[in-house]
Amino acid sequence: MLFGALFSSLVLLRTSDPNWPQGWTILSVPLATLNTFILISSSVTVVLAWAYLRLGDLKKGKLFLWLTLLCGLGFMIIKAIEYGTKFSHGQFPGTNNFFGTYYLLTGLHGLHVVGGMVVFAYLLMTANKWYATKRDQFTNRVETTGLYWHFVDLVWIFLFPVLYLL
């Protein structure tokens, strides 16, 4: 609902401002498209990790968890590059309403990505011992973290066209 309220605010601001710019004229669509591919890939790697853990294959389960973590890192690096470019052009959150909503929505989404990465890192650090003693519990933790991660992916699926393409 937090993102729902922010999307609602975006609609209100955008439809009320006749000078609202189109995202593709200001933002980098290729970088955002690459980030979209990275996030949907990470959604697949996390369900594959869960699937292999259910099959009893910890090695492959951990491999896909690592890939998920790397996808998250890749996403944040690209986001940092985007932010860096905007800052170098003097485009900050206070520049106008467009950049205010852009930084707020993508920044909040980025924080969710970082939160997911922290949990994945913790799961990877504790995987060997946890899986050996409480296999079902560990597998369920991966599943629930994965559900959160899919939500992060879901939000980006809507942010991408709304901010970058329209």
Binding site: P18, I40, V47, A51, P161, L165
Partner: protein, 126 residues
């Protein structure tokens, strides 16, 4: 203390047999391919630079299909309990209310634009 590791064929509503899991993996890969294709379609539609509401409608339609695939398959909503659907329906309702607010600000009940709002053609030139 070490606990016994027990393989449960049916655990939390999921079939944990190797055959079922391998079938799931194939389904996940197919959804990934669909999401990748739909992302390309989204970008191609944006490159057409369609006028205002056509562009918005198409972009949100494709995004909704992608979101639906993620929610239904990756988040297992396609095979959830009724309680989960009820909670989800409530969330969708409140999200709809949030979206209706700004829409109502701009348009009246029969789809005519409020006279106090700037005409959409002013926005399309930007």
């Amino acid at each position: 203390m070490t606990e016994d590791v027990v393989h449960e064929p049916q655990h939390h509503g999921h079939d944990n047999s190797p055959e079922a899991i391998r079938k799931e993996v194939r389904k996940y890969l197919a959804v990934f391919a669909a999401l990748a294709a739909l992302t390309i379609i989204t970008v191609m539609i944006a490159r057409l630079h369609l006028p205002g509401w056509q562009a918005v409608s198409l972009a949100l339609l494709v995004a909704s299909i992608k979101g639906g695939l993620v929610a239904a398959v990756f988040m297992h909503l396609i095979s959830e309990k009724k309680l989960i659907y009820a909670v989800l329906a409530l969330t969708v309702f409140f999200f709809g209310v949030l979206m209706w607010g700004p829409w109502h600000h701009r348009y009246d009940a029969i789809g005519q634009r409020n006279i106090s709002a700037p005409p959409p053609e002013q926005m399309e030139g930007h």
